[in-house]
């Protein structure tokens, strides 16, 4: 298939070489623009299709499409971290608020992960528990080193 398309493009080259220059230029412009439009279209289409919506614990409570993936942001609730073998259980609460959601996670736990830290995790809500995708946990850099700057 690849060689066929190669042959087609070589033919196109030959045809273009035979044309007069101004038509040739116009044709080139049209081809270039359509490629650009195609790429832009692919960009817009795939990104909106593949995107994961961001949400917060309170956001998940108010409106949630079952089975749909969300990117949950919030702070790890104090005293909620619990390890069961490979499974890590913890709860995430709103950045400033008390609404919280329990999370079940497997995979690599980032080094700065800790109670009270801000985390981002992707997954879907199932029967009130947020089932996180493997290795999707991201912990923002420890506030200890930046807390003075945040004010």
């Amino acid at each position: 298939m690849r060689s066929a398309s190669l042959a087609v493009s070589v033919n196109a080259l030959v045809i273009m070489q035979a044309m007069d220059p101004s038509r040739k230029r116009r044709l080139r412009l049209v081809i270039a623009l359509s490629v650009a439009v195609l790429l832009a279209g692919a960009l817009v289409y795939t990104s909106f299709n593949a995107a994961t919506e961001a949400s917060t614990p309170s956001g998940l409570r108010s409106s949630v499409t079952p089975g749909k993936s969300y990117e949950l942001t919030g702070k790890v609730v104090k005293g909620s971290i619990d390890r069961h073998g490979e499974e890590l259980r913890f709860a995430i609460r709103d950045r400033d608020g008390s609404a919280s959601v329990p999370v079940v996670y497997t995979g690599v736990v980032p080094d700065p992960f800790r109670e009270g830290r801000e985390v981002i995790v992707s997954g879907a809500l199932e029967r009130g528990t947020f089932n996180a995708e493997r290795d999707s946990l991201v912990t923002k850099c420890p506030s200890k080193f930046t807390e003075d700057k945040q004010t």
């Binding site: 995107a51 994961t52 490979e86 080094d111 923002k140 850099c141």
Partner: protein
């Protein structure tokens, strides 16, 4: 001392303002002495910033916690090596570093062009002064690196443990050198536009700076990837994180620029394109600096919200609007003096390579800023993950590598299909043989993308080898030199060309590593007790014994406690011992208890890698210290008032307890084929770029000049 530092910055700001005004006035009035004085103001600025940096570094080295920056970013127990680097781990310090590098680079380029480009330099000086002035304004008005604390703490917070890695010492300055370096061609492009001297002169004067900036940016990106691979404990080198992407975008547009300026130099085409590209590259560089600190995108790199986001955005907006206006205003002067003769020409391939690079940059830009785009369009914030990036970037990367091979083989102006076929026949054959061997002789067929990339890599390497061979054999015929001598003088005489080929080969080798490791890596997460074993990538790996070290800091990171595991890996006759571990840094506060704070602070994975050309075996461990909690709590109660020596003894005892009865620990093992070639390819790419940037020997330049003069004399006398 801090007063002197702050004064240096303030006087520096005045120097920058003076250089900007004096440069523009000198340019408008044609009074040369004002331009010279603007240049000297830049030398002065560089000296002042070197002084300011020295004062700040001295404060870091002697742990003077009277400086807010030192108290927040360093501590007495931070190893000296990392005290030096702590400066650019802080926002204020990194701004100072930016301004310092910019002033040094600008002084160098203004010194080198002091006798040339008389029309352009006044405005270029002014642009550089405005950029330097912006960074100084930030440090003078909003975020001073020399802030003093009224009550200095006894001990500082320490450098973030994640940044305690040798690659982190040089990664930020390298990245910044890259970002800053692009300011120079940008400034000269603006100067060229203002004065309508849009020939190739500004390119010739700053090309080398663009290339050096590009090289440093490449090296910086590679070091960042290496840091991610060996320090972050997840085993990958690229996560499509906003800050990583931000450094890649100017590199891509910079690559496009380095290629398309050749078209302008040789053929007088693509003038508008080149000035637009360098403006874009510089704007993306500013954005890269801004994103690290802005907090507008979720990133592990976004170290807390910044206070200078608005100022940055305003400055970037000014640069964007100014660049667009300037290019549009001068569009009539930017017309090409030649036309594209044929689609089968070097010019056309450069254009194509530019479009692919730009498409890559656009894809990455879209994905990086997608949360903002989505919020603006649909009202909900959403983001795209690595799979999206990979799906769009992979085909473009394949095309790019193919162009890397074909481009150099195509002559300027036009080439006949037959001529092209002749030079490509051997490389295509090599690629075809590679494809056949991989599909039939190995199980690489499970990833056709990887096979395609391997073939293209073989294609590029074959092209480069063939070019070297052709050049050297032609030289041998001409001069009768032996092979090694012919090859070395061939390269020595055409540094730019062969440096470029080396960079192409480096990119191909790098892609070999990327394709191999992303298609065939085998990752396992396991929980093992002592004596358990598992298999990974042909290795039989056994958890031998636990490691618990106290006060034995071999990596020089300043961590008092380190728990880990000794693994034995066996493959055939080969034995390897791997010692991944986890460093525990004490928490700053006392609420975790006198002993507990040593275990409850930050912890970082210290991975252990068995490096190999065929593939790496990467291991990380997360010891389970929950079984020690009882002992720690008991110790906290009993020894709350104890002194350092007693605490040391207790911690040693707790470590001993872990060593004697270790609970099962969590491991991650990755056998990643060919991943080492990423670093090797990156190294080749950087060396190739340095070769291309290396100035030609003085003697040769003089000879060329005298030959030119002689010919000119002949032409003038009509002989």
């Amino acid at each position: 001392m801090s007063g002197i530092g702050a004064a240096c910055l303030f006087v520096g700001l005045l120097c920058a303002a003076y250089a900007a005004i004096s440069g523009v006035y000198g340019g408008l009035s044609g009074r040369r002495q004002f331009v010279v004085s603007a240049r000297r103001a830049f030398y002065c600025l560089a000296a002042l910033l070197i002084g300011a940096t020295a004062i700040l570094q001295a404060a870091f080295l002697r742990s003077d916690f009277g400086y807010r920056l030192v108290a927040e970013g360093s501590s007495t127990d931070t190893p000296t090596f990392y005290k030096v680097t702590a400066m650019w781990a802080t926002q204020e310090g990194s701004l100072l570093l930016w301004a310092l590098l910019l002033s040094i680079f600008s002084s160098a380029v203004l010194f080198l062009t002091r006798d040339s480009l008389r029309a352009i330099t006044p405005y270029a000086t002014a642009v550089l002064a405005v950029v330097a002035g912006f960074f100084l304004l930030l440090t003078v008005v909003w975020v001073s690196p020399f802030d003093q604390l009224v009550q200095p703490p006894v001990e500082g917070s320490g450098l973030n443990p994640l940044l305690r890695h040798p690659a982190m010492m040089i990664h930020p300055p390298m990245l910044y050198t890259g970002y800053v370096g692009f300011a120079i061609p940008f400034a000269f492009a603006v100067g060229a536009l203002v004065t309508r001297s849009v020939g190739a002169d500004w390119i010739r004067a700053t090309r080398r700076f663009a290339l050096i900036a590009w090289t440093f940016l490449a090296a910086g990106i590679m070091l960042g990837a290496l840091w991610s691979y060996t320090e972050l404990g997840w085993g990958g080198y690229w996560a499509w994180d906003p800050v990583e992407n931000a450094s890649l975008m100017p590199w891509l547009t910079g690559t496009a620029f380095l290629h398309s300026i050749m078209v302008q130099e040789k053929r007088g085409m693509l003038k508008a394109w080149n000035v637009s590209l360098i403006c874009m590259t510089f704007i993306l560089s500013l954005m890269g600096t801004f994103l690290v600190r802005s907090g507008i995108l979720e990133s592990i790199h976004a170290f807390g919200a910044s206070t200078i986001g608005t100022q940055f955005l305003i400055f970037i907006a000014i640069v964007v609007l100014g660049s667009v206006a300037l290019v549009v205003w001068r569009l009539p002067d930017l017309r090409s003096t030649a036309r594209l003769d044929s689609l089968l020409s070097r010019e056309a391939f450069f254009l194509l390579n530019n479009l692919v690079l730009l498409a890559l940059a656009l894809v990455i830009f879209w994905g990086t800023f997608f949360p903002l785009i989505s919020e603006a369009v649909t009202g909900t914030e959403a983001s795209v993950g690595p799979p999206w990036f990979e799906r769009l970037v992979t085909p473009l990367a394949l095309v790019l590598v193919a162009l890397t091979a074909v481009g150099p083989m195509v002559a300027w102006r036009r080439v006949t299909p037959a001529g092209l076929r002749k030079v490509l026949v051997i490389p295509v054959a090599v690629a075809a043989v590679t494809a056949g061997a991989l599909l039939l002789g190995s199980d690489a067929g499970s990833s056709l993308t990887a096979v395609a990339m391997f073939c293209l890599v073989a294609f590029v390497l074959a092209v480069v080898t063939q070019e070297l061979w052709r050049g050297a054999s032609a030289r041998r015929v001409m001069t009768g030199e032996a092979w090694p001598r012919a090859l070395s003088s061939l390269i020595g005489r055409n540094r730019r060309r062969y440096g470029g080929y080396a960079a192409h080969a480096g990119l191909a080798v790098l892609m070999l590593g990327v394709a191999g490791s992303s298609a065939f890596a085998e990752q396992q997460d396991l929980r093992l007790a002592v004596g358990d074993s598992f298999r990974s990538g042909g290795w039989e790996i056994t958890y031998d014994r636990p490691i618990a070290r106290v006060g034995d800091d071999r990596a020089g990171t300043g961590a008092p406690i380190s728990f880990g595991a000794q693994l034995t890996a066996r493959r055939g006759d080969e034995f390897r011992t791997l010692r991944p571990s986890r460093n525990y840094y004490p928490a700053a506060g006392m609420e975790e208890g006198a002993i507990g704070r040593y275990f409850e602070g930050e912890a970082t994975s210290e991975v252990d890698v068995r490096w190999g050309l065929g593939g790496d075996l990467w291991t990380a461990v997360r010891p389970d210290i929950s079984s020690l909690r009882g002992s720690i709590e008991e110790a906290d109660r009993k020894f709350a008032e104890s002194d350092g020596d007693v605490r040391g003894l207790i911690i040693t005892a707790i470590a001993e307890q872990y060593r004697r009865s270790p609970p099962p620990a969590s491991f991650r093992a990755i056998s990643s084929p060919l991943v080492s070639w990423i670093w090797i390819g990156g190294g080749i790419l950087v060396l190739g770029a340095l070769l291309a940037a290396w100035p030609a020997p003085q003697a040769r330049m003089r000879r060329a000049r005298s030959l030119y003069r002689a010919r000119l004399g002949r032409d003038l006398t009509g002989a």
